[in-house]
Amino acid sequence: MLSNITLGQYFPGESLIHRLDPRTKLLLFVLYIVALFLGKGLVSYAIMAIFLIVIIVMSKVPPSSLLRGLKPLWIVIIITGVLNLLFSQGQTVLFTWRRISVTLEGCYNAGFMIVRIILLVLCAFMLTYTTSPILLTDGLERLLRPFQKIGLPVHELAMMMSIALRFIPTLVEETDKIISAQKARGADFESGNILRRAKALIPILVPLFISAFRRADELAIAMECRCYHGGEGRTRLHQLKYARKDYVAYVIGIVLCVAVGILGRRFGL
């Protein structure tokens, strides 16, 4: 029942995109977002879209699964589009209904906003689809390490994240099992008003929380038994190392960002 939930979905692969250092990918992702907001017109968005398509093709991630990932977001995308359409200021009024008028600029804005969101989401997918959750947390931990000096518990956050990822499938499976077991006792999750349905969740949530706490307890002891004592003096099996392809990727990313910035801000293209 819950098995079709995709969380932190990762498509194992050997493509160049997969093999990039996670730090590179994270920073390129940030650069891409910056570029998206610097872009203004058709040309810059076309460049951004082509860039992303090239990456998707290189990664060999099936486009159909990217589209499937977009599905739950359609509503958000459409609402954003409609809001932009209706509430943008503009000169060229296309038509007016009561006090709401739709302008040509509104149409442009809505279109750009939709493209912007789709590109942003797809780029985020590319990051998580081509980077295993472990590498992702590793990359984050390394990138944020400088902030440790100002008291940000970077190692702890990364450890929490990776443990959360580790336990998602376990807890999903457990939830499935609890739902079946309560159904076997005649629990009804599908009928009644919202209040009744919310109440019907108690027999699922209580056992789930209790079990999560029990697991956390046992895991903490197991980690202690394996000599865990915080991030201090810890080494890693896989050390992150930049290769030439990472430097090349950085250069491409910066060039893209600067180019789009100039096109958008300077020439409004």
Binding site: I221, M223, E224, T235, L237
Partner: protein, 286 residues
């Protein structure tokens, strides 16, 4: 004999703090125990007999309320020795899901050596060797949650082996497994004991897991009720019953025959030995 003992307890007492006014419940009651280096020891006992609590004293997860525990001569109450003790006595628990830390098999095995600050090249060697020992090399890059129960438990053992411990304590490692998983885990543990010379302390309530141990300790009400070789222990059918345990079916059959008047020894723990005893008796009687 001190150099041959890996774990020693002296007058070990432990009790959990209770609400005020109530008498503290004595979980362990003056335990004196020595575990020989390289031996395979099984600790039996019903739930609540104190066997798990005892095990948690062997690597300083629990500390004695009174009395002492030494691991290779190191006092477990000495906080400075904590890591040295824990890397020497590894622990495997009942629920395989709740002791795996990482999303990838080899990353999980690497967890302990990483904590110990071992250089990456050596972590690699340890991980590969530990995975080979438990027979999971081919699953190196898999996600642990896709493994079977027996495989998960072997992975947990590999995670402990990567510390290169002298002793492994397993707290009911087979309780949640099916017969195939149990067999896998027991075979792995036995081979680690034989081939790597690692001391094994196996806590269980499955009698048959104790049959080929070097030594069996029966616990009850926080004390050691019996301590000896498997045949010494399992022939004491009454004692086992008192401890809330069950004799193996082999012994039960021999015992039933003896009660019916056969002059037969109870010494036949395995089905084959048991059949030998009965066949020999029948032949002699003819």
């Amino acid at each position: 004999m001190e150099h041959d003992t890996i774990i020693r307890t002296e007058q070990l007492c432990f009790s959990y703090l209770q609400e005020e006014g109530k008498l503290p419940y004595q979980v362990l009651d003056h335990i004196d125990l020595q575990i020989e280096r390289g031996s395979f020891v099984v600790v039996l006992g019903r739930n609540g007999s104190g066997k798990s609590t005892l095990a948690k004293h062997f690597n300083a997860i629990n500390l004695p309320v009174s009395g002492k525990v030494w691991v290779s001569g190191m006092d477990t109450a000495d906080e400075a020795l904590l890591l040295a003790i824990r890397r020497q006595v590894g622990m495997v628990f009942q629920n395989p899901d709740n002791q795996l830390v990482a999303n990838v098999v080899e990353e999980d095995v690497a967890f302990a050596p990483e904590n110990l600050g071992i250089p990456p090249e050596e972590i690699r060697e340890r991980v590969d060797s530990a995975l080979a020992t438990v027979g999971l090399s081919e699953f190196r890059t898999h996600a642990p949650y896709l493994l079977s129960g027996g495989q998960k438990q072997r992975l947990a053992i590999a995670g402990v082996l990567a510390m290169q411990p002298d002793c492994i304590v397993l707290d009911e490692p087979t309780a949640m497994l099916d017969p195939i998983g149990r067999r896998e885990v027991l075979e792995t543990v036995h081979s680690i004991n034989r081939q790597r010379g690692v001391t094994v302390v196996l806590i269980t309530h499955h009698m048959d897991e104790a049959l080929d141990a070097d030594r069996v300790i029966v616990m009850g009400q926080g004390t050691i009720l019996a301590d000896g070789t498997p045949s010494e222990i399992f022939l004491q059918v009454e004692l086992l019953r008192e401890a809330g345990l069950d004799a193996p079916e082999t012994v039960k059959l021999l015992y039933a025959l003896r009660k019916a008047g056969w002059d037969i020894s109870l010494d036949g723990l395995f089905a084959e030995d048991c059949a030998d005893r009965i066949a020999a008796y029948l032949q002699k009687a003819e």
